[in-house]
Symmetry: none
Subunit: 218 residues, 4 copies
């Protein structure tokens, strides 16, 4: 029966509305943290920015603490599905996949000052670091493994002697984090496009047969 296939309409609509609210609040939280920092973010501002009453935060997230955690989870999920999708859509070679991962990090959708600010807020605040680890450790490991695997493949394909996949993967990851930071802090007049170029320059250095400063070799 149709009834079974599709839920009772008002219920489904309600459910959707609820999810909508959550998302609005998370977006508002990202904005608030970016604008006022972790310490300066309070729920009444977040709620107001989302066009709701204070009570909504506790209704949907139970506490400020959990709102922040869910915000982090949102970003982490977004990042994870982004790189997984990127790998799927990338060309078949390891080098092309690697290039996609680098491109991704400096894509406007992810490399956004507001979002970067939230990442650094979690990394920077001693109290939220355990939360970050609990939530992101696994995700980060998966990413690291993917990165490491791709580096290994490129090394094998390109017969790069003396190249150490471990070192290269770690370097690339650290480089990205550092560039993100420079972008966030407006350090060294860093921009996403310059950061992208710097990352490819690194790859061109370690894998000269596969990369140039501009990207992957065709």
């Amino acid at each position: 029966m149709k009834r079974n296939a599709a839920q009772h309409p008002p219920l489904r609509r309600r459910q959707a509305a609820k999810e909508q609210r959550r998302l609005q609040l998370i977006k508002a939280t990202i904005d608030a943290v970016a604008r006022r920092g972790f310490a300066g973010t309070n729920i009444s501002d977040v709620a107001r920015a989302a066009g709701m009453s204070q009570g909504m935060v506790n209704l949907h997230f139970e506490s400020k603490e959990k709102l922040l955690v869910e915000t982090l989870r949102f970003l982490a999920d977004e990042y994870k599905s982004a790189w997984e999708t990127a790998l799927e859509r990338a060309g078949p070679t390891a080098a092309k996949k690697l290039a996609q991962l680098v491109e991704l990090d400096f894509t406007p959708a992810l490399c956004d000052r507001r979002k970067l600010a939230v990442w650094f807020a979690f990394w920077g605040e001693a109290r939220s670091r355990p939360t970050y680890l609990r939530l992101c450790k696994q995700r980060d490991q998966e990413y690291d493994e993917a990165l490491h695997g791709l580096c290994r493949q490129v090394i094998v394909e390109g017969r790069y002697k003396h190249a150490d996949a471990d070192v290269i993967a770690s370097s690339l990851a650290a480089l990205t984090d550092g560039l993100w930071m420079d972008i966030l802090i407006s350090h060294r007049s860093m921009s996403a496009s310059r950061a992208r170029r710097i990352s490819f320059a690194y790859l061109a250095n370690v894998f000269p047969g596969h990369f140039t400063d501009e990207g992957v070799v065709a």
Copy 2:
């Protein structure tokens, strides 16, 4: 004038004691921020940890905000004099100086979990506090110039074609920041010694004639 040359002794002693108080409070602030984060750091804890009364903080720093700024300034000054000293004491060649800068970043005295935590706490809040941003930028301006200059010199000395001092200096700086972060977050099981090695591996890649994974070529 006499007054300037030799201040009234008790006055001078007082001045010294005052400076002593300030330092104690800053040290206690570093501890507190590292342990409890920015938001979790409050004046009374800091004062108690420094063995003083609450009132001392406002007496010496006027406000909590100023205490934090002075703490950041303390770290920035410490870092600056460290690298300036390092450059003076390093061997005469640019490569040796560059190596010293890298070594410095992973020296226990500076690459210390407590201090890293404080740096990242400030960076995490920086976007929302112009004062921090200004201080951070200032810290890096001169350092970047030194780094850039050294890279240029090495490039000239080594006749590295296609090497871009801008890119290399920025890469090295970003790499360092990212490695610091990995150390702080305990990411990718990063340690200071591994971070140092990774940094030299980068230099060995871009300046193969001057560096190996272990350091500068003799």
Copy 3:
């Protein structure tokens, strides 16, 4: 009129369902107040415990305050009809009726930790809520008169010189309340059966011809 004699069936069924709802909510309120106290009792918990939605409480009772008043009234009515029934069913003599009243107070159905807790919760708040006070007074007015009357009868029957019905009735009532409290607070390892015995011991003292520690003299 027909309408009054036999209501429209579906309407009557509805009426019954409504009454059912009220009762469920009152029962849930008793549970909640017993478990979490007055201050800790909130509408959503009560509603959930009664298997209904929050809105039902306001639909059936208008406000939380009214729900509490109705709960108190429920207990008062229950107590009243219990002692009225007890008097009807008791033997014909005043002593037997008096004995029934005492027995009643320590019957499991009424002398139940949950219900005692609620009584004392109301008494604890009574002074600050005139409505409760009025309800409590009302509850006791008639009971006291009955008690007083029975004492008088026993005195007359037994020709107890120097016995004052006022004092005895008040003593018995106060003794009962105090024993209830001891049971609730688990004071002096008081149990319902010991409390019953203590009450009869009192009666045996003032009316030695009619009572023993075990109950009424046959």
Copy 4:
């Protein structure tokens, strides 16, 4: 030196002031609980009634919870030292001591509507009962033992056959609690003097050789 014998004056004055503040707040709490009940008592009202700012409550008591606990402790201490003093000052016979305990319960200083309200608030609220027990169990036991011991002595002295010290002590204690309740709730138009008389009437009944309705026999 005198300095050692007596603390530094300003310090001692401060200490005294602190104790003074605590007492003011406790007094205000008793008032507030009596007037508005447990649930209706909030710290800002208490603080205002004590002529202080809200912050003082948390400064001196850490939390509302602890303020209430300290208020209970104050009453419990007051009661304990009152009955201990009463026993010391009473005549040498057990009957005289027993009479003093009864008198005490209906002395204006202790049998005060405001204080009674607080006792019943603690007894009535499910959440505070554990606190009450933790705090008062020992004190109550000591009192019970004293009461029990006195009853035993009177029984021995008076050669009361068939008198059970356990039952009498428990009865007396329960009777007192019940009378307190009647006074608090304004039940049965109970007053302290009538309650006192009722208590002595009980004693006169069980110990006719030692007591009359008016008190102990000379």
